[in-house]
């Protein structure tokens, strides 16, 4: 047993131009690249006897195309279904049943094509309604159900999760975004090797069992997040309207027609293209020693062969928007307005000034709240944010209208606030307040192993993990003139899309 070490992350301090700013705290990251191209990021931290471990693949819904939208996310779900040795009591029989299932599914896909044609010709309304299914399709469903029952005979249910849980892992989860897919959990400090075993196995030899019931699960997730919430589908529509060419125009959950037809073969091809070592970064934060960790990572992850091809680059650049776009929606929600402007992606030199601008506008002491909530009282809630993603970015402002006021009034008031920022530089004290908050956030983000892990996942996923330590200095260097310039350059009419939402049914009698 070793004595817990007290390690100060404050080892290196960055001195900043302004004397009044708070020095930033660097995250001591060790970067190593395995021979197969996999990147390894390690942060030793000995306070808490645990390790937050995760990995990020540089693939998300932006790498999809119509027909297979939602596949990156569905794939993420499949990565919990086991490996050649985890999740089955008879690997050979298991693979045989899976192949048989695909044979039936192929035939079902043929029937689905017939039913889609019937939808196009107006013979049936909705593919999801059981009453609309053809007799042959129902027959095939029964055959498939029998094969699923057979599979259960050799299936070891959720064994991947059982092994982790029984070993004290916690918070095992994953997420899929436009630009990345990430998998993570926390293990006790003595279980580093278990983590390496489990994660390398599922990258090396995953088996996609229960594929079609999981597809239904994902459809339920879509219903829960988008279809059964008042703003879910309208915001999906707005997003689709905003992005012209970039594959950010569909939600990570995918279009309903696509989610319900994705095949296992498509998932296999997706895996072969994007889950290659040169497209993956491993990240570990916590109670381990770097030398040992590198050796173990090489042993377990080094055995995964480098992919024959690098994943294809995304070549589309969003064309310059030349006309304002507008959408008016009636919804079961408070009346509000949402405005998007095309701006810049992650790491762009203007992204820092845009982040500062967003902070100047948002928060309870920001321009929008002071102007629209406390000032003219047109709004009860407001917000502003710069979203810097890998392939593009957007600036978002929103406001909820006060009773007896309209989204149009809120919209006009937002433009009035923008105009002030375009005409005059922000006073020094106001700028400093915002910078102080960014500086303090540098410390707050180091709260736990998991919060550091997530910060590294996000920065690496968007394109450059070094930003975890470098972005703050760039934000601190932003001048009032920079803020004025980006407000003038990006927040203009031709560059924006506006959604107004008005309450459809008055909920009860308003007093």
């Amino acid at each position: 047993m070793t004595v817990p070490q007290k390690k100060h992350l404050a080892a290196c301090l960055v001195s900043l131009a302004m004397a009044t700013t708070i020095p930033a705290q660097q995250v001591p990251v060790t970067e190593t690249n395995l021979p197969n191209g996999m990147r390894l990021l390690l942060v030793e931290r000995h306070d808490d006897p645990s390790i937050a471990g995760g990995w990020v693949t540089h693939v998300g819904s932006a790498n999809e195309r119509p027909g297979i939208t939602g596949i990156a996310h569905l794939f993420e779900h499949m990565m919990f279904k086991g490996t050649t040795t985890i999740g089955t009591s008879d690997a050979k029989k298991d693979l045989k049943i899976l192949a048989e299932q695909e044979r039936v599914r192929d035939e079902m896909r043929g029937e689905e094509a017939v039913m889609r044609r019937d939808v196009r010709r107006g013979k049936i309304s909705d593919l999801l309604k059981p009453e609309n299914w053809t007799p042959r399709y129902r027959e095939l469903q029964k055959q498939f159900a029998e094969l699923v029952a057979q599979e259960r005979g050799v299936l070891v249910k959720n064994e991947f999760d059982n092994i982790y849980t029984g070993n004290g892992a916690s918070g095992m989860n994953a997420f899929t975004m436009q630009d990345m897919t990430a998998y993570f959990c926390t293990v006790p400090a003595n279980k580093f090797e278990l983590w390496a075993w489990m994660e390398s196995e599922r990258i090396l030899q995953p088996v996609f069992r229960e594929f079609y019931s999981e597809r239904d699960v994902v459809f339920e997730e879509r219903r829960m997040r988008l279809e059964s919430t008042p703003l879910g589908v309208p915001m999906e529509t707005f997003n689709a309207m905003f992005w012209e060419a970039l594959p950010y125009s569909w939600d990570t959950l995918g279009w309903p027609s696509d989610v319900s037809t994705i095949s296992k073969a498509q998932a296999d091809a997706f895996y072969g293209t994007y889950y290659v070592p040169q497209n993956i970064t491993l990240i570990l934060v916590g109670d381990f020693y770097t030398t040992n960790a590198v050796a173990l990572a090489e042993k377990y992850f080094g055995r995964i062969p480098r992919g024959a091809n690098n994943p294809p680059d995304l070549v589309t650049l969003e064309p310059k928007q030349t006309v304002e776009k507008r959408m008016n929606a009636e919804v079961a929600a408070n009346s509000q307005v949402e405005i998007f402007w095309h701006t810049v992606p992650f790491g762009h030199q203007d992204s820092y000034a845009l982040e500062i601008l967003a902070q100047i506008l948002s928060t309870h002491t920001g321009r929008l709240y002071k102007g629209l909530v406390l000032g003219n009282g047109l709004a009860t809630d407001v917000g502003a944010e710069q979203n810097s993603m890998k392939w593009a970015g957007f600036f978002d402002m929103s406001g909820e209208a006060s009773p007896n006021h309209t989204p149009a009034e809120v919209e006009a008031a937002i433009y009035a606030e923008i105009e002030k920022l375009q005409q005059a530089e922000v006073p020094a004290e106001e700028l400093q307040k915002v910078k102080n908050n960014f500086a303090a956030a540098e410390y707050r983000k180091l709260n736990s192993n998991m919060s550091i892990l997530h910060s590294l996942i996000w920065n690496d996923g968007e394109g450059n993990w070094h930003e975890i330590n470098e972005a703050n200095a760039k934000r601190q260097a932003v001048t009032a003139a920079d803020v004025k310039r980006v407000a003038s350059e990006y927040l203009i009419k031709e560059n924006r899309a506006v959604a107004t939402f008005t309450r459809k049914i008055e909920a009860g009698t308003e007093k």
Binding site: T2, Y212, F219, M224, S228, A332, N436
Partner: protein
């Protein structure tokens, strides 16, 4: 060093890894792990009864130049006078947004923002919480502002008007999300219309609240004898004790209130509630294509001797995520829901509610509900397997250190034990936790399942498209009317401003 760490952790384990990939076993059971010993923090190492009144827990941690304060306050919405529902929430919000001491509301907020200090107050059903997180260099100024907020709030009229209008806006949305309807109606069914948890602010009750009400509510309860404090971060223990004594000395400064007696210790939290009659209850929300379902049963208090067996039982049923039976059956097998879970919380002041929850497309709501009931009955009918029992127990035992993963978590956990009285009644709760879990047997699990999971008492609440839910699915004969209770009771939507049935 005494206060640096009381965790006896193995720390990073030194090992000489075998670096040959050829030695990788085909199954993880073949891996050998070094031992990891861990003992939870010892409350007495951190506990400081302040002369000013509060009990404080001080957990220094010099990793980052930040200090975090959490103050738990004996107050809550259960103390609101009838007809003034919303008073507790409004009071909490205005403490930090309504001006304090010599600062107007805007001055106070500007100063906090410039210091990048996060200060927030909220008052819930049975407690108030004040949180302050700031940079070490701003400690003295921050504590000055905190003292003003605690003892000299100004409750500015313009901010009262502002917050009231925001509360009305929030009220307007009460029927927009089916999740909100479900949560609210589940509360009514579980505890009864008159239980304090179910007293909601209305447009009338908000209108009835005056500045004087806010001042009185604050003056009654914000006394240091009602505080329990957790502090973690970059400070020296002795210096912090002196600062806390200064921070809390005295009490609310309000000359107009001097004729009033401070409330002292608040009256006991009510514990009597009425659990609804067994059966199926349905709120029609025709515009959604997914139904939300909650199944409920009366549960236990956390000091019940059955607490540990119930925790293990619940883990197997639906508390253990992917390793639970409900997840295996309803999600993995059938693909009927994204989320399905069960909960068996031990109530602090009165018994908690056992619940199962899921969301499924309207047409399969009845089938998924039937599956959940089947799994619930199975827990009583037959013992859990050795594998299930061990998995549940190992998970509780091995994840135990996570409860104290950060110094802030240590300070907050210890302060909560003090605040809720368990430190006084069961000071060794954490120390004994793993042994008690370890002692749970299969017989215990089946016994508590039979005792608490009684199918004829189950209350089922569904929120969604009634027509489609009642229609069911051609592949699955289950109907809601076949469930225990035999009939479906329609629950009307409530008017969001009066909370009366529409």
């Amino acid at each position: 060093m005494k206060f640096l760490l009381s965790l006896v952790a193995a720390g990073a384990v030194s090992f000489a890894p075998n670096i040959l990939a050829a030695d990788i076993p085909d199954r993880p059971e073949k891996l050998v792990f070094p031992p990891l010993r861990y003992e939870p923090p010892n409350a007495s190492d951190y506990r400081v009864p302040l002369q000013a009144g509060p009990i404080a827990y001080l957990v220094p941690d010099h990793e980052r130049p930040l200090i975090n304060f959490t103050i738990y306050i004996r107050t809550g919405s259960y103390l609101e006078p009838a007809g003034k529902e919303g008073l507790a929430e409004l009071t909490g919000w205005l403490l930090t947004h309504g001006g304090a001491g010599t600062n107007s509301a805007n001055q106070l907020e500007e100063r906090l923002a410039f210091l990048a200090a996060n200060l927030g107050v909220s008052i819930g059903d049975t407690e108030g919480t004040v949180g302050l997180n700031l940079l070490t260099k701003d400690l003295d100024e921050g504590l000055g502002l905190l003292r003003d907020v605690l003892y000299a709030p100004r409750f500015q009229d313009d901010k009262i008007i502002l917050r009231k209008s925001q509360m009305l806006q929030e009220m307007k949305q009460r029927n927009d999300e089916s999740a909100a309807i479900e949560e609210r109606e589940a509360g009514f069914l579980a505890r009864g219309e008159s239980f304090f948890e179910n007293r909601y602010a209305t447009s009338n009750s908000i209108a009835a609240i005056t500045a004087l009400d806010l001042e009185k509510f604050h003056y009654a309860w914000f006394w240091p004898s009602n505080f329990v404090v957790g502090v973690s971060g970059d400070f020296n223990r002795e210096e912090m004790i002196a600062k806390l004594e200064k921070l809390f000395a005295g009490g609310p400064e309000n000359m107009e209130m001097d004729h009033l007696q401070p409330g002292g210790t608040p009256p006991a939290i009510p514990t009597q509630f009425n659990f609804a009659k067994a059966g199926v209850y349905l709120v029609n929300k025709p515009e959604v294509d997914q139904g939300r379902v909650t199944l409920m049963l009366p549960g236990i208090r956390r000091d019940s001797p059955d607490y540990y067996a119930c925790a293990v039982m619940n883990y197997v049923l639906g508390g253990g995520g992917f390793s639970s039976r409900l997840m295996g059956r309803v999600r993995s097998d059938e693909g009927l829901a994204y989320d399905v879970h069960s909960r068996f919380p031990g109530g602090v002041y009165y018994p908690g509610i056992v619940s199962i929850g899921f969301q499924s497309k309207s047409r399969t709501v009845a089938y998924a509900t039937a599956l959940c009931l089947e799994e619930l009955k199975k827990m009583s009918a037959e013992p859990v397997s050795d594998r299930e029992l061990n998995l549940a127990k190992r998970s509780f035992i091995e994840t135990f250190p996570r409860a104290f993963a950060t110094k802030t978590a240590v300070a907050d956990a210890l302060a909560r034990e003090e605040f809720t009285g368990r430190y006084a009644s069961d000071p060794d709760f954490w120390r004994n936790f793993r042994a008690k879990i370890s002692a749970v047997t299969k017989e215990d699990v089946q016994r508590v399942a039979q005792k608490y999971l009684q199918p004829d008492q189950v209350v089922v609440l569904a929120v969604g498209n009634k027509a489609d839910i009642m229609l069911g699915h051609p592949d699955h004969p289950a109907k809601l009317t076949d469930l225990p209770g035999g009939k479906v009771t329609d629950l009307p939507l409530r008017d969001p401003f009066t909370m009366k049935a529409q």
